[in-house]
Amino acid sequence: MNRTGMAAMVRIGQVIKKSTRGDLNLVKVRAQNMKLDRRLMIYFPAKRDRWCVEQQNQTKIGDIVIMKNLPHAVDKDVFTKVNEVLYSVGNIKDPITGRLCRGTEFIDEEQRAQEVGRRQVEQMTQKRTIIE
């Protein structure tokens, strides 16, 4: 395959591995797509792993990342770069509201719940002092 002129490409994948090659920070990204089984006519997930160049060493293993093609292939198997981190592990930001969330809950609510717990403890200690 001729890699001198790279076509424009956008793919989303998850970071699996990290390594270095010379002075390049490399990151292995697994991009999943749907592949049709022609006999069953059902789409099954098919993975494709690619080594991506990552300039700022900011990704963690498990991050979901947007990949783009480099203008020229750096190595035989390195021809993509990490453009942007979509969802970072443990720090997912809901793109509609912009708030941090964990699963089906916003993290702000948990913080509020912790504060409520602290207030309840303070109230109990105050009551004891009044009774005495």
């Binding site: 424009a8 956008v10 793919r11 991009a31 006519m41 947007i66 997912i92 793109p95």
Partner: protein
């Protein structure tokens, strides 16, 4: 012949896949669907991806389609374009039909209105008075008052007739 087993096995028939109408714009390369399992507000998007996801993938072969479940409290669809742009559709509490219509109207290729050649030619002819011939207002310019009359009915003067011109030139050459 596919095995027609499982929930709604019609989704796995070739006729159903080819009947898909959501052909997204070629600039869109990735489509991510975020929804939550067992959430009422996500029921519309769940039904949409249950019925239409195989159709979308069949018609848009180069598109990468991903499903993220239970990642964010609100369900949404996100499109990623080739130039780096992103578009989000907030799908909280929406029905399957609303989502389908939204995507069809905003993100799908609208079919090009292809006019047949002869119809276009007819309209041009009728509209432009400088056109003559079949499908036009006039067959020949000789029909218009003020122009040279039709040589079929009245002979042209000698200086406009090539035959006479040629004879005159030959006579001049001879003399």
């Amino acid at each position: 012949m596919p095995f027609l087993k499982g929930v709604a096995p019609i989704r796995y028939t070739k006729a159903y896949l080819e009947a898909g109408k959501l052909i997204l714009q070629p600039e869109i390369r990735v489509m991510t669907i975020n929804y939550n399992v067992n959430q009422k507000a996500s029921s519309g998007i769940y039904k949409f991806q249950f019925w239409h996801l195989p159709q979308i993938k069949y018609k848009n072969h180069q598109l990468q389609i991903l499903r993220f479940k239970n990642m964010t409290p609100t369900p949404f669809i996100q499109f990623f374009f080739i130039n780096g742009e992103k578009q989000i559709i907030d799908v909280h509490g929406r029905t399957q039909e609303e989502i389908y219509d939204h995507i069809h109207n905003t993100f799908c290729e609208q079919p090009a209105v292809v006019k047949p050649y002869y119809e276009e030619r007819k309209k041009d002819c009728l509209f432009n008075p400088a056109n003559f011939g079949y499908h036009c207002r006039h067959w020949c310019i000789c029909e218009i008052p003020g122009q040279v009359p039709c040589p079929g009915y009245s002979k042209l003067p000698d200086n406009m007739r090539a035959k006479k011109n040629k004879e005159m030139q030959e006579q001049e050459k001879a003399t």
